[in-house]
Structures are given as structure tokens and as C-alpha cells.
Amino acid sequence: MDTHLAISGVGKTFGTHTVLAGIDLSVEKGEFVTLLGPSGCGKSTLLRIVAGLETPDAGALSIAARDVSRLPPEARNVALMFQSYALLPHMSVLENVRFPLRMQNRYPKPEQIERAAAALDLVQLVDLNDRFPRQLSGGQQQRVALARAIVAEPDVLLLDEPLSNLDAKLREAMQLELKSLHRQLGLTTVLVTHDQTEALALADTVVLMNDGRIVRQGSPRDVYARPDSVFAADFIGGANVLDLVVTRTGGGWQARMPDGTIVALAPDPRLGEGPMKFMLRKEAIRLAPEGGDVGGDAVAIDAIVETQNYLGGSTRLALRAGGLSLIALVETGPDAEAADAAVRIAWNAADLVPLPGDV
């Protein structure tokens, strides 16, 4: 595998506002990267720079070992699917999908039509070729836009919040389809989203951005399990952030909760003595059997259930433990519906993840 899209030192300023500050990112051929971050973090600007619709103030950009920094969008062989889909309202579905081939003068007309129809097949849109965009549902329009983005076999496929205009159910279905389409075509893909579920569900690599910088980058599992800052922990998945005081003991480490409760920590090179922030995922907390064994490396403490929300597949608990408020997501809540039920909760020592990025 080699680097297919290389972004080096890309910076962008609008007036006095720095939108992107020295972004370095390399994407391998066939890789699916999601740029994730809150609105205003610069992810869309970065996408537009790769597309060529925005000029960076600094840095360089290469696609397939060709420097494209100075090329206009129409010469980059990059496809961009807009959040609004940007379908041409006066052209039929087939004409819309054929448009890139027609503009780039690729293939004779009959083959253009054939390829456009094949792309529509690929996104499972059949028998709608002669319809106009306004006659289609949102989901169908989204598929047309997708077909139009892949029809010309771009070197890089850029997707700007492609699923955000769909309802939740359709969005889930499209995530699966998008993933399988990517597996079939192997297109190098960069997707921008503010939806962490979407980022985790689709990506080979999640790139988390904040304030014009890349703050964390890695596989979805890695980024989810081992964030290195409160921002990363909170933005991806949401989590409890605990302020603990770390001390070294003989062979390992332990932490003191605000009320003095001592909990064991798993070894981690990022640990250091003194106050530190830790992440504890909501679903890492489980209810421990009363007085029962919780397992070798698990930590168990007493807690009070303040409220609980039954969510169907799971139950959300608002807990008070160790002098802190914690949120837990458990499969089955405690039987007692009464407020302030006393329970024992447990988590694996390794689930208490240090966040050295913040003190």
C-alpha cells in the first residue's frame, strides 16, 4: 500500500481566523477516511481544499504521486458529493449521472449512457433513469448523487455529510450500503461528518479534528477505546470524565476518587503521579452481583442509583459513586425502581483510560 492522497502542511486563514493550521494527512490507496469534528473545526474547508474549490494559504497536496496544489478542480479527477446533492434539476437521472463523462469527453456517447446506467445499478436505483430529481425521494436523490460521484472513477471520492439529510433509519441502511460499495469499488474515499457513529461505522481511519487541527487519528476501535484528550473522549462516544489523583504503589498505579475511595489502574506509560483526568465509557460500567466476585482485574465500588431511563435494548443509570456523578449504560437495570437504590458497580481496570492531553 502506498500513499495516494498526501496533504502536507496545509493551512488556511479567512481574515484573521485560522481555519486550518498545518494539516498533515496521508491516505492510502483504497482507504476510507472520515474527517470528524464539530462544526467550524475546519473539516469541510479541508475537503474543499482537496477538491480544489478552496486554495490553501500554505502547504501542498498530491494525488497519485502528482502535485495537484495548483490544479483547478476540473483537472484533478476528484469527485465531490455535496450535502445538498447538487443534482441538475433540468436533467433526467440518467443525464445527471452521465454529466461527468460528458464534460470530461470520455468514451463515445453510447458507452457514456451504458456506464451511467451501470453506476445507477450499483447504487441500486433501477427504473428511474428518465425521472427528474424533483420527482425522487430524498433517499433516491442521494443515490443519484452517489452514482454521479463514482461514475467517472475518480482518483479520490469526497463525500460532504452525504447522509445527513436522511432520516435515522435510512441513514443506517445507507451506512451499510456505502461500506459495501466501497469494498466493491476500492475507491480512495474521504468523508466529512459531524456524526461520530457514522465516522466509526464507515472508516478505516477516523481523523478527529478540532479548531483547525487534527487532534486524534487512528482506526475506529483505537480512536474510540484510547482517546488522549477530554475532547476526543467526549466527542467520540461520549464518556464519563473523572478527575482522580494518581499515586504509585509498589508494582503498579492506583487512583483516589474525591471521596477517598481507592481504585486500581491498569499499567499505562502515560500515567504520572498527581491529579489526572480519566475516561470511563458509559457501557464499561456494569452492575456487580452483591458481594460476588467481579473478576481478577476488575474494580468494584459502591454506588447509589439516582435515576434510570429504560431505553429498550439497554438502561441508562445516573449514578453517584466515589464522590462523582457517573452515567452508566447497562443491559438490565437494578430491579428496584425506588430512587437512591444502593448497588455495587464494577469496571475493568483498563477501562479507566488516562487523558494526558488535559490536566
Partner: protein, 265 residues
């Protein structure tokens, strides 16, 4: 939420609509009826029934020459007004031009300015810098008074356009010409049709600018009608007017079929 109208409003509204219909349609009906008169004079109610005045109009060199002048004038006005107005609308809606508001107001000012004053000024300018009234002067005058309509209707189409269309076309490899010809102008079609319709009608119907820019050799149809009415009123005036009404109706229907009037006005 649209609430139900109070009950007492119904008769008032009905009377109001009836009054509008009366004052709009009755004059037209009077004109049409008079045109079918067989008498020598323009009177109402008409006496007898005859199409002779239509025949007279179609055989009158004066009317035919005036009609030809008006048609040439209206077509030229539409072509120039549509070209300039569409370019102005595209520039004003799509680009951050310095002083955009001021320029937009300037383009729309002929709507507010009394056309009588504009016509006097135009005549003076042509008398000072040119040879006085002329067909060219008339075309320029009509372009000025019709351009606001084109700018308005085309801008309305552009505001409805997905702002990403142009960038999307670029990403797909379209060059400048293709983006304008295949993407942006097609979005303006309905607005351009409406603008052209307004421009044609206003130019064809105008009597104010034409009155001042009238040269011995340049007489438009409204001017012909006016002077006939003044010097020898006969039902031919009504016949010409009826033909003009018919032409307008045909244009409206054609426009509605092609674009849907509700969408563009």
C-alpha cells in the same frame, strides 16, 4: 397557521372581488364589443354586427406599418433587455460586487421613476447629443423601462437555485462555457421567459416613451391608436385593441404551458 376568515368577511370579500372583476373586465368587453360594430363611429352599445373594421385594419397601411414598427421594437427590446438583464441578475445574485445594493437599486429604479419624466429626459438627451427622436432612441428607452422586470424575474429564479450547482459542475469537469450554458442559464429559463413576456408587453403597450420619441417615420401601434382616436375615432381602434388583447392572451397561455405561471411570477 392559516385561520378561518370571520363570517362577516365573506360578503365584503365577494363585493370586493366583484368590483375588481367589473372594472377590469367591463372595459375590455366594451372594446371587444365595439370592434364588432358596423357603424362608422366608435359607439357603445355597438350598432349592427360586422367584421368590417378588422378588414379595414388589416388593409390599412398606417396600421400595418405601425404594427410592424411595434413588433420590431418589442422584439429588439426583448432581445437586448433579456441579455443585459440576465447578465445583471447573474452578476448581482452570484458575485460579491462592491456596491451591489446600489447597483441593484439602480437597475430597479425605472420601476419607481415616473416614465413621463424619464421620457422627457431621454428626448432632451437625444436632442442635445443626437438628431432628436429616432427608432434607436425608442429602443434604448424601452430597454431602460423593461430591464427591471427581467432583473427581477431572473434573480428570483437564481435565488431558488442550489448554490452548489456551479461548484458541482466544476468538480465534474465542466469548463466556464459549459457551466453557464448547461447549468446556470437553464436554471434561469423560467425567469427569462417571464422577463421576456413582461418586456414584450411593456414595449408593445408603451405610449409614454413613444409619445416623446415619436419621429415622423417612427410611429408605434399605441401611438397610431391614440392619434386615430384623437382625429377620426372609428371602430378600427377597437378592432386593433381586440387583436392586441388576443395576442396577450395567447402569450400568457403559451408561457403557462411551458413554465407554469405560478412558478415564475
Amino acid at each position: 397557521m392559516v385561520g378561518a376568515a370571520p363570517r362577516w368577511m365573506a360578503p365584503v370579500a365577494l363585493a370586493f372581488v366583484a368590483a375588481i372583476a367589473f372594472f377590469m373586465l367591463v372595459p375590455l368587453a366594451v372594446v371587444v364589443a365595439s370592434s364588432l360594430s358596423s357603424s362608422e363611429f366608435l359607439v357603445f352599445p355597438p350598432r349592427g354586427f360586422s367584421l368590417r373594421w378588422y378588414g379595414a385594419v388589416l388593409q390599412s397601411d398606417a396600421y400595418l406599418a405601425a404594427a410592424w414598427t411595434s413588433i420590431r421594437l418589442a422584439v429588439l427590446t426583448v432581445v437586448i433587455s433579456l441579455t443585459l438583464g440576465t447578465m445583471a441578475a447573474i452578476a448581482l445574485t452570484r458575485f460579491a460586487i462592491p456596491g451591489r445594493e446600489a447597483i441593484a437599486s439602480l437597475f430597479l429604479s425605472p420601476l419607481i421613476l415616473p416614465s413621463l419624466i424619464f421620457a422627457i429626459g431621454l428626448l432632451m438627451v437625444f436632442s442635445i447629443y443626437g438628431d432628436g427622436p429616432s427608432f434607436t432612441g425608442l429602443v434604448i428607452g424601452h430597454v431602460v423601462i423593461t430591464i427591471p422586470y427581467v432583473v427581477r424575474t431572473v434573480s428570483a429564479s437564481l435565488v431558488d437555485m442550489d448554490p452548489n450547482l456551479d461548484e458541482a459542475a466544476r468538480m465534474m469537469g465542466a469548463n466556464w462555457w459549459q457551466r453557464y450554458g448547461l447549468v446556470i442559464l437553464p436554471q434561469c429559463r423560467a425567469g427569462m421567459a417571464a422577463g421576456a413576456f413582461f418586456a414584450f408587453n411593456i414595449s408593445f403597450d408603451d405610449a409614454v416613451v413613444a409619445l416623446f420619441m415619436r419621429a415622423p417615420s417612427v410611429e408605434t401601434l399605441p401611438m397610431r391608436i391614440y392619434s386615430t382616436l384623437e382625429f377620426s375615432p372609428n371602430p378600427s381602434v377597437a378592432a386593433v385593441s381586440t387583436i392586441m388583447i388576443g395576442l396577450t392572451i395567447v402569450l400568457v397561455i403559451a408561457l403557462d404551458r411551458a413554465f407554469g405561471l405560478g412558478k415564475i411570477m
